[in-house]
């Protein structure tokens, strides 16, 4: 599933994929694959991305299950 929230957060800050990748210490391709939903990052990388984009894990990575209580 594509992570459009991450892409939006990045674009709102005016960051390119390359800039975000440099900020969190990964390759641009990795950022692209996370945004396109083809790679599941570790919680450590998720936290680094959230810090770089000044947002939270909930905002970028949490997905509500429709019709079910979560947790």
């Amino acid at each position: 599933m594509k992570n459009l929230r991450m892409k939006m957060a990045r674009m709102q800050l005016g960051m390119s994929q390359t800039e975000l990748a440099q900020a969190v210490g990964v390759t641009r391709q990795t950022i692209g694959l996370i945004e396109s939903g083809e790679f599941n990052p570790s919680i450590r990388l998720c936290v680094a991305i959230c810090r770089a984009l000044h947002t939270t894990l909930n905002d970028l990575f949490w997905e509500e299950e429709h019709g079910k209580d979560t947790l």
Binding site: G25, V26, T30, L33, P41, L45
Partner: protein
């Protein structure tokens, strides 16, 4: 953790490549060894090079899996599962040996049917006992790992 120039996606990609490479090497060596033995009638002294890589590789894979508590990914850890697996080993060893004898009757390997039955029974019995021992070790190791994790 070792210093690496790769990020976690590249590392996981590299691990997948290495894993496939390892599987290819293991199955490839097995096929080459069996092919030389059965089809070309080579004895084991001619397979020393392949065996020098294949046996340590197999021991490494087996011991590492055991130490990590990994054993039952595909095959169930039941008595029936072990009996079936041992039977499969016995049938493979007996069948391939019988085929090798049939293809190379000049080699002094005995007659196909008695050798088939001998290998079937002996490999089956050995494999079943080995699997029982390995499972006992695996259970002990898994218990130790579980207790270790609970203490943390």
């Amino acid at each position: 953790m070792e210093k690496t120039r790769y990020d976690e996606r590249q590392e996981s990609q590299l691990l997948r490549i290495e894993s496939k490479g390892g599987a290819f090497a293991w199955w490839g060596l097995l096929a080459v060894i069996l092919g030389q033995w059965v089809v070309f009638g080579s004895d084991f002294s001619r397979l020393a090079g392949e065996l020098a890589v294949f046996l340590p590789l197999s021991v490494y894979l087996g011991v590492s899996s055991l130490l990590s508590g990994l054993r039952d990914r595909y095959w169930p850890a039941t008595v029936r599962g072990k009996l079936l697996l041992a039977l499969l080993f016995g049938l493979s060893a007996g069948g391939l040996n019988a085929l090798a004898i049939a293809l190379h009757p000049q080699r002094a390997w005995g007659r196909p049917l008695p050798m088939f039955l001998t290998l079937l029974i002996s490999v089956f019995a050995f494999a079943f006992l080995a699997l029982l021992c390995l499972e006992a070790l695996w259970r002990r190791r898994r218990k130790a790992l579980d207790e270790e994790r609970e203490e943390e």
